[in-house]
């Protein structure tokens, strides 16, 4: 995934050339293409959007979705918001912690990365989780690892 050229990114961002209002979308497109936003892409986006690198960096750091390093094969989002707290997310999170995953740090272990999120909109079937975009209701360790093994295999 780290093999990319300036041309390929510029090609991808083509429709937004000179559009200063497309910084967020450009970052999203790069992340969609590469899985993360490498530092050099900030310069490419700045040039393409005709804004300063500082502005691009500002947008990049504001939004929690963006990552500066490649993600694991399986990215697990675990909800830490109120409705899931009421449904026992704390014990799920501590079980995951015992298995070596700190959702607050988002460390990678065995091609799996677990991250906290505030609400997945599945608040009546908590604790809620999501593995590479696929939702898991009434989440347990067993359900989560069954889903991750399907994508890391």
């Amino acid at each position: 995934m780290s093999n990319f050229s300036e041309e390929s990114i510029l090609n991808y961002l083509g429709p937004y050339k000179g559009d200063g209002s497309a910084v967020l979308r450009s970052l999203q497109l790069v992340q969609e293409l590469l899985g993360y936003v490498p530092d050099s892409a900030l310069d490419i986006i700045a040039k393409n959007s005709n804004v300063s690198r500082a502005e691009v960096y500002g947008v990049f750091t504001f939004y929690s979705d963006f990552r500066s390093t490649p993600p694991a094969k399986a990215v697990v989002k675990v909800c830490v918001a109120e409705a899931c707290q009421a449904s026992g997310s704390a014990s799920l999170i501590s079980e995951l912690h015992d298995k070596g995953y700190d959702i607050h740090k988002g460390n990678i272990k065995d091609d799996i990365q677990m991250e906290q999120t505030f609400c997945l909109g599945n608040c009546a079937l908590g604790p809620a989780a999501m593995v590479n975009g696929a939702p898991i209701g009434r989440a347990t360790c067993a359900k989560i690892f069954a889903a991750t093994s399907a994508v890391t295999a």
């Binding site: 450009s26 963006f66 707290q85």
Partner: protein, 514 residues
């Protein structure tokens, strides 16, 4: 041919609905059965998901909590003819939970195929838009004003007045922005409507465009809703192909284009001015008001910003008239509200009812109390910035003003239920922590106060100089309330203060709380 419905709503998917749909198709092929699997939205009875329905002459028969490995057995015992089985619920529409509701905004959700425009029209869709096309813009705005529809995003501002402001503002370009950044924990109605009946939202936005003279619409959806984004994009494509969207809406002189924009994991972008900044590709920093977005909105142009639920109520208002919608509700809370029962709740999901049902009835009678079976200790209404209420508020009717009277806030209509194992000091601390995490950083009380708030609560719980620290917390809450531009900093004190007032013992408080 037998029609079988398996929801493709995210909540249903989270319980294995895709696997169930696949198993039904596989089994039908294997046994040479003539079955069509329709992927509908969810009925909103989320504790029953995956809820499989079979169309019979008597009506649609439901089967609850179906799993893929049950399918061969279910089909062998007559699922396709609606025969009884342990998981059989009988006629879905006769279930108390559904039967006792007034489904207006959610009338089609779970009933129709979300991506079938034919289904949509056959069930009353596009009637409102056709009526609107035949009316003057001012008359459309009057209808919406007369209906009493108020913003469902939380602030409850009368939708018609907002529209009128945009209509009366001269500009070469105006925008309709749908706020679908449903970030409040305990709310999922926007997501379910977008996944289960996207054409309703699209129709509502086109009507808004015709009413105020806007030709471009944008739907700002949070990235945590990948499935809703996918369904909306497909629905927009279908609407374009059928000339519902585009240069000549349903053959009229009106033009309306619509685009989905995706958020990037920021709660504060649900605040309307932060959302505008984000739509302009910037950091989601809150703007000062005035000027209001209706005058100076997206790219400085007059902009209608409405929540999904607000815009989705519009087609029905234009189809059946303002008086019909206005006839529901209490006082100044007119129409229906889509309540969402969430958290530790036995029967969680969507409850659409006229305003006025009491909180206690909603939680206990409709929701059946907690999922854990333990007593309810508290409920939080209106998301992370909403107040905690105790069981002494059971008799409060659900409405904007009635909730405000007891220090609560309706917000987006989400209700999170907690049982008696919850520690309210932890919840208060979390409210401050969440604010620190999600603050855009523009206002000092919000940016710094939230971090100080966590520390002060920790000191109170640790029993350090409680009287002094309680005074400090109160002072901090006051500064945050009065000194923040938006609800992020301004309302974070609401859950904190209410938790402290209702459950001082959880904070280990030995002195009296004022």
């Amino acid at each position: 041919m037998t029609k079988v419905f398996v929801p493709m709503d995210s909540a249903a998917l989270s319980m294995g609905a895709n696997e169930v749909a696949q198993a039904i198709t596989d089994q039908a092929t294997k046994s040479g059965l003539d079955v069509t699997v329709v992927r509908n939205g969810s009925r909103g009875m989320l504790w029953l998901e995956p809820l499989v329905e079979v169309e019979t002459e008597a009506g649609r028969i439901g089967y609850a909590n179906v799993s893929a490995d049950q399918i061969p057995d279910l089909i062998a015992t007559g699922l396709l003819s609606g025969s009884s089985h342990d998981s059989c619920l009988g006629l879905v529409e006769e279930l108390d939970f559904l039967k006792n509701q007034t489904r207006i905004t959610f009338a089609r959700v779970g009933v129709t195929d979300p991506l079938s425009l034919v289904d949509y029209e056959a069930n009353g869709g596009l009637k409102g838009l056709r009526n609107a096309i035949a009316m003057t813009p001012a008359k459309i705005v009057d209808e919406v004003t007369d209906s009493g529809l108020r913003g469902r995003g939380g602030a409850g501002f009368p939708a018609g007045i907002k529209w009128k402001t945009v209509l009366n503002t001269e500009s070469d370009q105006k925008y309709i922005c749908c706020n679908a950044d449903e970030g409040d924990s305990g709310t999922f109605a926007d997501r379910m409507l977008m996944e289960g009946d996207p054409f309703t939202l699209i129709e509502g936005m086109i009507i808004a465009g015709i009413a105020v003279g806007a030709t471009q619409g944008l739907i700002y959806v949070r990235s945590e809703y990948p499935h809703a984004i996918d369904v909306l994009n497909q629905a927009i494509q279908i609407a374009i192909e059928h000339k519902v969207l585009g240069t000549s809406v349903l053959g009229s002189e009106f033009s309306f284009n619509l685009e989905v924009r995706v958020g990037a994991g920021s709660y504060v972008c649900g605040e309307e001015t932060a959302m505008l900044e984000s739509l302009e590709g910037k950091r989601g920093m809150v703007r000062a008001k005035p000027p209001i977005p209706a005058l100076v909105g997206l790219f400085g142009k007059p902009t209608v910003i409405n929540n999904v639920m607000t815009l989705a109520a519009v087609p029905m208002i234009l189809a059946d008239g303002a008086a019909s919608y206005q006839s529901f509700g209490v006082d100044r809370s007119r129409g229906t509200q889509v309540f969402q029962l969430a958290g530790n709740i036995l029967r969680g999901g969507i409850v659409e009812l006229p305003f006025g049902i009491t909180l206690g009835d909603l939680v206990n009678k409709v929701g059946g109390g907690t999922h854990s079976g333990r007593p309810v200790k508290t409920v939080q209404i209106g998301g992370p910035l909403g107040a905690y209420l105790g069981v002494e508020s059971w008799d409060v009717p659900m409405g904007y003003e009635s909730l405000a009277e007891v220090g609560g806030m309706l917000g987006h209509g989400g209700i999170v239920i907690f049982d008696d194992t919850v520690n309210m000091a932890k919840q208060a601390r979390f409210a401050m922590e969440f604010c620190a995490e999600e603050s855009c950083g523009k206002c000092t009380p919000c940016r710094i106060g939230s971090t100080r708030g966590v520390e002060v609560i920790d000191r109170i719980v640790a029993g350090e100089e409680q009287a002094k620290n309680l005074e400090l917390l109160e002072d901090l809450c006051e500064v945050m309330t009065d000194g923040s531009l938006c609800a992020m900093g301004g309302l974070t004190p609401l859950p904190v203060r209410s938790a402290l007032k209702l459950f001082p013992a959880d904070f280990g408080i030995k002195v009296e709380v004022k």
